[in-house]
Symmetry: C2
Subunit: 338 residues, 2 copies
């Protein structure tokens, strides 16, 4: 079933069928109708490979995903896929491991799949122009910002929350409850990405409240793996048993930390409050329910696609969007009891 079959079936040329398919104006209405009907009847689906071959560019959007284990990112991915499909583009996904190079993965994906655009989902943006030179299609960072890169902001887009501000807000919430010895759990204070930005929010929230930063209260897990977070929390508790609150920069981290707290005999929130950022469904069902700043996951994916398509179709320039979180109060935040 090719365009030729449709053409013969209608008694027109393949050019006409092609015109109808692509919504060109110069087709008589009755001819258009006839062709459309034929397409329906014959269940004709154009061969994308042939289209891609002849067209200057494909309609393929690549997504490089780091962290498929994280339900938060999967939610975003889902909305990306829907938005891409709705715009009649094709999405190709490449999942990479924690230590893989997303720029390299993206570059190779661009070439092998002849991508039109790229979305980096859950990456750790710390790139130089030299490195991203291989990314020769428009790209957008989704769920992280690229603040640390030396790239010109007009060369790419990003959609994320304001990591600094939201972290600040989370810590402030703990401070308002009366906490002073507030620990933070993150991947690394200088990962040049989310961890670092949120760490700054943590530091500044403390400072604004007149609380001195205590390096011992800063726990680095080195990764976002729950096992590492668990261990990091254990170490934290060993060195500082006097903390009354913990800010974990992601829900998964929060869950692992609560487990570690529990294993160490601390009650949450009586002995230690916990707050995190993400808002994955699961946190509604942890015991106790995790208090978290909910990221607008669906909107995040939809916006990433919208911006990318705007750039691709030359409707607009690269932009950087900061979305807001919504506090979902759970049961892990209370006043300090010591």
């Amino acid at each position: 079933m090719t365009i030729k079959d449709v053409a013969e079936y209608c008694g027109v040329s393949i050019s006409t069928v092609s015109r109808v398919m692509n919504g060109h104006p110069d087709v008589r209405e009755n001819v258009r109708a006839k062709v459309m009907a034929a397409i329906q009847e014959l269940h004709y689906v154009p061969n994308n490979s042939a289209r891609d071959l002849v067209r200057p560019q494909t309609d393929t959007i690549g997504v490089v995903l780091r962290g498929a284990e994280n339900p938060f990112l999967m939610s975003v991915l889902r909305s990306i896929e829907q938005a891409v499909a709705a715009a009649d583009y094709t999405m190709v996904l490449q999942q990479i491991g924690t230590d893989d190079d997303e720029v390299a993965a993206g570059a190779s994906l661009i070439r092998s799949k002849r991508l039109r655009g790229l979305i980096l989902l859950g990456g750790s943006f710390d790139y130089t122009p030299e490195r991203t030179a291989a990314l020769d299609v428009p790209f957008v960072c989704c769920s992280f910002t690229g603040s640390f890169s030396s790239l010109d902001k007009s060369q790419y887009s990003s959609v994320s929350i304001d990591d600094y501000a939201e972290a600040y807000r989370a810590v402030q919430l703990l401070i308002c409850q009366g906490h002073r010895r507030i620990a933070v759990l993150l991947g690394s204070v200088q990962d040049h990405s989310i961890s670092e930005l949120r760490y700054r929010g943590y530091c500044d929230a403390l400072r604004a409240a007149g609380i001195e930063l205590d390096p011992e209260l800063v726990a680095e897990s080195g990764s976002f793996e729950m096992a590492d977070v668990y261990t990091a929390t254990q170490h934290l508790l060993e060195r500082r048993s006097d903390i009354t609150a913990l800010f974990t920069i992601s829900d998964l981290m929060g869950i692992a930390s609560i487990k570690a707290l529990h294993s160490a005999g601390r009650r949450v929130p009586e002995d230690c409050s916990v707050i995190s950022i993400d808002g994955i469904e699961m946190t509604r069902y942890t015991v106790p329910t995790l208090t978290t700043l909910v990221q607008p996951r669906r909107q995040m994916g939809a916006e990433a696609v919208r911006i990318l398509l705007d750039v691709l179709e030359e409707r607009g320039p690269h932009t950087h969007i900061r979305l807001e979180t919504a506090l979902r109060e759970g049961e892990t935040v209370g006043a300090p009891n010591h």
Copy 2:
């Protein structure tokens, strides 16, 4: 950068380059080496669209995923992707909603992407030959079996655990602890899929222990959504406060149930034991740690791809593989206290 450029660069014809690319034997060693070097140097990547166009079939494997929220399926997906890439095939993913029709999604994917083969991940196989007629490429059901379909087993493959046997085993474990009033939580006793198979295992395990099946102990959530599971557990507890153990057919369900138990003032496992199936990473960090039968996720994905490629490349027939789970003892199973 096309095959022509490479050919000119090497001073050979495009056919020779093509032969090298496709590993054909009739190329002199020094020529082959020269071409390979050129490919490296020029960073040449063949245009897949052109390949697909000219080849009788593509090298694309489609995956229809129902349930991206489920970390278990994501783990499987990850290993599918790796196996597909390792075999130099391309994976395209289509996520569908809980109520979407995976056969329809698969059929449309086959046509639009000219798939070579299809993997149905996390579906609910209850198909008739009429419905699957649209699936005119080899397909394999991954993580579920298709036991209820009226299809000829030689027409498709499947990779999953033995749902019946593993459910039987889980319930048996509870019985061994001395439990008699064991409830089960599932989507629906007649979903013609995983729920139903595991329900049968539950029933038979009880029967084998001489315990009469009590319909009031069967809780149907109607879906796999955690919210629905939570509600279903609440209803279960309202109607039968005397249960001492609960078998949930998935980890996510287990987590939601534990939350409901906890909210109802039941301690786990003192007042009610819980056991489930899946073994997602997260269950190591729930409070208390969930006891679960761990599915071999990575193996499941790898096997699904292996079988599919065997069929595609005519190395073997359709097969149905049952993998075994491994019990991971958590803290949610204990002896009954009433």
